[in-house]
Symmetry: C2
Subunit: 407 residues, 2 copies
């Protein structure tokens, strides 16, 4: 999106191909998974974002092949599209480290559908427990395991703890939701490993205050529908959520350049693929080094990369040399349940309530950009005045064929 | 819900069994199907509605059997629940008049999942057309057929016309969404057959002004994924929506009383099933006669019926005679696209803008009751203060089993 928008008034034709009709603001996906936000609050139709950009067209489709030699991408319906420049920003999917069977028992959080499936499982677990007669079963129903102590894992565990310990109290007659156990497993010795160590400690303390059972230095060795096996023994749990590993989109391997061990494309200082100045990779599909260190796979890295690529293409068009990409870390914030967070903004290290306020402000700001959260506030009125609609998402399994009897 | 709430301070224990965790405000479902509202805006967790009613418990489950002799209902997990009184309000599902194969090609509108499927198909149709090279295919993609000219059909056709003719303009580069065809088929000689004839005429005119191609006296004889066959010839259309027929829930046949030809339970003047004062049927699962005429299957009939049943049970408890149910028609309103509607309120007949304002006010009022629309306005702030969450719905296929590998 940033690359397409950055080319708005350039003398180029832009084609955006996506297999979803919506652009997703992923940092708030855990809020959908934990029933705090509606899908439409954090996703917006790509077509609508680019409606007024006359040089851009949008195709709903899946790319199944990229040929760097002939400069062609192939879509699922057999269409080929030639390009002068290709910008690949297809991101990552979950990696279960070779144990793909775990996915069915521990969905990850990358798409709206993932988030709705997690929401469904978390809410159903309490309902099953309410109907169960067997205390052992009931405890397994009320045990939630989140695998991975990065921002997604920390935020998801915190939000599930809120649901169990705050939202659902007084709504059940048989079970007491506050007897639920929320376990966060992290293989290393601290949560939020990418943050300064002092903030990891604060996050750990805040999670424990919230009632989350954080277990550090514990690796998962197996997951089925009744338990999570770990290096520290089994946990009887019927709901598990995967927030542990990512691997690059398969498109990464089609670009003709090198890849790192996560399958990410290695790119040069201008973000183009090794040996091919016409193909760029940005966001977390790319292994980007800036100012001597690796750029983290977060939204701001992708947005800055997209803007850089638009500038590089413009430079080519006007015969100027391309500049090097310099990542500017504006800070990072992770919430820990209600009214608490940790993070950095510039050189500041924040924690507790003030970090939470900062998190809230930053995300509200981004959601305004998505015409989302604050627009939801007036969406009916707004709908009436502008003819726009707030929930224009195509969700459900990607179906390249025409609708038939399979639904 | 109305019956359960009406028993709030009675000396009874109330068990609400539903296979969904949410109560749905069905009159606005077409708004979800047409991307105007989020699912959570029109649905609310049953558990949350009854949280403060100490004598009520909620079970998420499907009823698979009712034995009037032993006064027992059986749930899908094998549990039996005995009752002193049973109130059945299981509603209706679509009827394809024996052509169940049509359902895959023309989904109806009863549940959140139905609405999301319709939304998905309508939005995908434009995307397919944008990618198509074949003008004939493209026209079939841009043809939408709504079957049935009752309120749901009229409102859905109007909303699809709005999407095509207003919302999507300027977003596509190949197709012009305003060349779409929206066809409303009605078998009788007028739309909104339950309304006064003068209002049917006004509705017809308003629909046509909006660009809906209304075809009266036309019956559907076949539907597949490429066309709708009718008594007036075939229509090449890849998207069809069914708003034509309903049949009562299968629970109706288990109550030991009589049923009418739609399968609805015939009930006495106190809303109890013939010959069994302990079993009541309310809402559109019941064939109710009040003041000499049949009570329509609309929300206000169900709500009034539920309140009546609560009063009848209270009367029994205090040794008083039960009173007869008298339906009070407060009016009915159907919107026709943007800023237009027809309907009655008491003896008033309204149409055009004033009817639309009335429709809007009435539905906003009901949504306040569901903590929905206006609460959405402040839902983040509200969430923070009250610990409640606005989107706590379990959607997706009803799955009575524990989660396993099938997702």
């Amino acid at each position: 999106m940033a690359a397409a928008k950055g080319l708005a008034d350039a003398a180029v034709r832009v084609t955006v191909v996506d297999r979803r009709n919506h652009h997703l603001f992923q940092p708030l996906l855990y809020q959908v998974a934990t029933a705090g936000l509606n899908p439409a609050d954090i996703a917006h139709p790509i077509r609508s974002i680019l409606a007024s950009q006359a040089n851009a067209r949008v195709l709903l489709g899946e790319i199944v092949g990229i040929d760097p030699e002939t400069a062609t991408v192939s879509l699922d319906d057999g269409t080929d599209i030639g390009f002068d420049y290709l910008v690949v920003a297809a991101g990552t999917s979950h990696s279960y480290f070779g144990n793909d069977g775990w996915e069915a028992h521990a969905p990850g959080l990358k798409t709206i559908e993932d988030a709705l499936e997690v929401r469904r499982r978390v809410l159903l677990a309490f309902e099953r427990a309410e109907r169960s007669d067997d205390p052992t079963e009931r405890q397994a129903d009320l045990t939630f395991v989140v695998v991975g102590g990065g921002p997604t894992g920390v935020e998801t565990a915190g939000a599930i703890a809120e649901i169990a310990f705050k939202t659902l109290t007084r709504e059940f007659r048989v079970i007491d939701p506050s007897t639920a156990t929320v376990i966060l497993l992290e293989g290393t010795d601290r949560v939020l490993g990418a943050y300064p160590e002092s903030l990891s400690k604060k996050a750990l303390r805040q999670l424990r205050e919230l009632g989350v059972d954080v277990r550090l230095g514990v690796m998962v060795t197996g997951i089925d529908d009744a338990s999570v096996e770990t290096t520290a023994g089994p946990i009887a749990a019927r709901t598990a959520i995967w927030a542990a590993g990512n691997e690059a989109s398969p498109l990464a391997a089609m670009l003709g350049g090198g890849t790192d061990r996560s399958g990410r494309v290695t790119v040069g200082s201008d973000l183009s693929v090794d040996g091919n100045r016409r193909i760029f990779a940005i966001g977390d599909i790319a292994h980007v080094v800036s100012n001597g260190s690796e750029v983290p796979g977060v939204a701001q890295g992708a947005i800055q990369g997209g803007a850089h690529v638009a500038r590089a293409i413009r430079a080519d068009l006007s015969g100027q040399p391309r500049r090097d990409f310099h990542y500017r870390n504006k800070g990072e914030l992770a919430t820990i349940g209600r009214s608490s967070a940790v993070g950095t903004i510039g050189r500041l290290r924040l924690s507790g309530w003030i970090a939470w306020m900062a998190w809230w402000s930053v995300h509200i700001f981004f959601l305004i950009d998505f015409r989302s959260r604050l627009v939801v506030l007036f969406s009916w009125a707004w709908s009436y005045v502008t003819f726009q609609r707030g929930a224009r998402l195509i969700t459900g399994p990607w179906r390249p064929q025409r609708p038939s009897g399979d639904s």
